[in-house]
């Protein structure tokens, strides 16, 4: 039906990912035919006698969880150099935050780490509350803890799904993860009206109260969740292939993790006890009984397992919070919706998002919009040591190491 295109007279020939993205010298010119020189193999002199292969994985690559690129140099299948390239999803959150009002920045925080919108909301309103001295009432604090822990469940389940997907399981664990995610998303939707971009928290409180019957539904979901976790672990935790792929792979040492500012489950998998829920005791986390699981080896399997154990702890917190939640108002009476003008100064606020420390740094100058709006993304900083973890591993390992770091590009590039 269609005449075959004999020669693909294109500006490039390689498929996806090995094209230029960074524009550093290999950007194609508009309308001009790029040199058809085979850039298949770039020979580099190395002492080992083998030939090195330069591969650009990404920005369109199935394993990079979005638009991330790793410039990898391979010796056979072994990674000898890895250069992360960012910015393919740089959406100028900080610039937009500096031109918009304090209220208008809340929906933008939803879109930072778009799997954990609730905790992003919380981090931002937490920072502004620190700045303005607004104090959310008790019920609001409880609801915040509940939605944050539900978010943790969503994030960790999906992460494990993506991680096992990266190992090559045909999406089955991911499907199960999303099956359970949908239940929590339903909760969030009936609470805030949207499936992903909740825009739920407000300075000194919340946008709206729980709808009737929500607590019961949430209790049901949480009760099912530990059952689901058992199933999930039966599917994965003992799987020999998963063990072989993940144990001893991508080891991150304690000292390096601290120096590199790694936070969240990844840090705790390396054995560092640092969880802002315990350290800062923000919100009302001091009221709940829960423990911080710590890994020992700091490899991919520990990172997987820490997340499973954290989910089990999150279920515990949820059980307590859902049982204890009091009645009452959900907003600080001092809070007003529009026209927030904090007095000049600066503040840094942070919370433990599922991926690590999510901080906001605001400088105010008395105008209705912040002078400086800075987001401290856990995903980006956790990637600092990506190369250190991947060197000497095979390319397939690099993929799952990246998966185990748990990045969301919206947050990495902002």
């Amino acid at each position: 039906m269609i005449a075959p295109r004999e020669e693909f007279k294109s500006w490039q020939s390689g498929v996806a990912g090995n094209g230029s993205g960074n524009g550093s010298g290999n950007g194609s010119s508009y309308g001009a035919v790029r040199s058809s020189e085979a850039k298949l193999v770039k020979k580099t002199d190395d002492s080992l006698g083998g030939d090195l292969l330069e591969v650009a994985m990404g920005p369109h690559h199935p394993s990079t969880h979005g638009v991330f690129r790793m410039d990898v140099v391979l010796d056979g299948e072994t990674v000898v150099k890895l250069k992360p390239v960012f910015g393919y999803l740089h959406r100028n959150h900080e610039k937009i935050g500096e031109t918009n009002s304090y209220l208008a920045a809340i929906p933008y925080t939803d879109r930072l780490d778009y799997i954990c919108s609730m905790t992003n909301n919380w981090a931002y309103v937490h920072t502004v509350e620190k700045l303005t001295g607004l104090q959310p009432p008790e019920r609001a604090e409880y609801i915040r803890v509940i939605v944050a822990e539900l978010t943790r469940l969503v994030n960790h389940t999906c992460l494990i799904g993506f991680l096992v997907q990266d190992m090559g399981a045909l999406g089955t664990p991911l499907m199960y993860a999303f099956r359970e995610r949908e239940n929590i998303i339903d909760l969030f939707e009936s609470l805030s009206g949207s499936r992903m971009m909740f825009n739920y928290m407000r300075f000194g409180g919340l946008r709206c109260d729980l709808p009737p019957g929500w607590i019961e539904q949430a209790k049901r979901v949480v009760a099912n969740y530990s059952r689901f976790l058992d199933d999930y672990e039966a599917l994965l935790s003992g799987n020999e292939i998963l063990l072989a792929r993940s144990q001893g792979v991508g080891v991150l040492k304690k000292d390096l993790a601290i120096s590199a500012g790694v936070t969240g489950p990844m840090l705790r998998a390396s054995g560092v006890n640092y969880d802002l829920r315990k350290v800062d005791q923000y919100g009302i986390y001091n009221r709940f009984q829960f423990r911080i699981p710590l890994g020992e080896h700091g490899d991919v399997f520990d990172r997987y397992m820490i997340r499973v154990l954290e989910m089990r702890e999150a279920v515990k917190i949820l059980d307590q919070a859902l049982a204890q939640i009091p009645e009452g108002p959900i907003n600080d009476p001092k809070a007003k919706l529009r026209g927030l003008r904090p007095k000049p100064g600066e503040v840094y606020g942070r919370i433990e998002s599922p991926k690590g420390e999510l901080g906001f740094y605001l400088i105010t100058d008395g105008s209705p919009n912040p002078y400086r709006f800075r987001i401290r993304p856990p995903s980006l900083i956790n990637l600092t040591i990506l190369e250190d973890m991947c060197l000497g591993q095979s390319v397939a390992d690099a993929v799952i190491i990246l998966g185990s770091v748990d990045i969301v590009l919206g947050e990495v590039d902002r």
Binding site: M1, I2, R5, K9, S10, W11, Q12, V15, A16, G19, S20, G21, N22, G23, G27, S28, S29, Y30, G31, P59, H60, H61, P62, G66, V67, G87, Y88, L89, H90, R91, N92, K95, I96, T99, P107, Y108, R111, Y114, I115, L174, M175, F178, R179, R181, E182, R195, M196, M197, L409, G410, D413
Partner: protein, 215 residues
Amino acid sequence: MEITPSENNSVMDEALRSELSKQGVFTTSLQELYNWGRKNSLWPLQFGLACCAIEMIAASMARFDISRFGAEVFRPSPRQADLMIVAGTVTKKMAPQVVRLYNQMPEPKYVIAMGACAISGGPFKQGYNVLKGIDRFLPVDVHIPGCPPRPEALLDALMALQKKIEQQSLTGVTRPRHLTEDARSEFPIPEFGEHDLVPSKNPELWFPPTPMKKP
């Protein structure tokens, strides 16, 4: 076998169809078969950009199950994909890559712009690194507004695309883009400039209307 465009309108009534069957039944049925095959086997490119990608994944998961339409075969290689779902914000740094991926797809190929960002830059259109709509560089078949659109909205768009394919003919004015004589299956890839993409739009594709005037 010659069928004039007016006759070859796919929304033809039964009487016309029976009349045609005397002379051109073969062409008509071939066309139907071709459209039927194309519309029921839309393999998307496994290609997520931002937030909407999560809803795209959700659409392929158990609750919404895009596979019912035969479209769950997310191909990681553009050579085997038919449908590019631009799911999320296209940044200027990413735009050349998106165009390149489109160029690498074989004809017939379709583009769905999913979400406000892909259509117009959406909430991020004020940003300096955000492309204000993928249709500046690529011909988009279906736009789905929303931020992000629900997975059902993606399914709805898929059905809209299927309907669009169904109404195309092999010849005449309703023929698809790739069967026109001067069809381009590749579009120029913008280059990174010192301040912006060069050029910032493809003038052959992008015909915005004049903006209204604020009194």
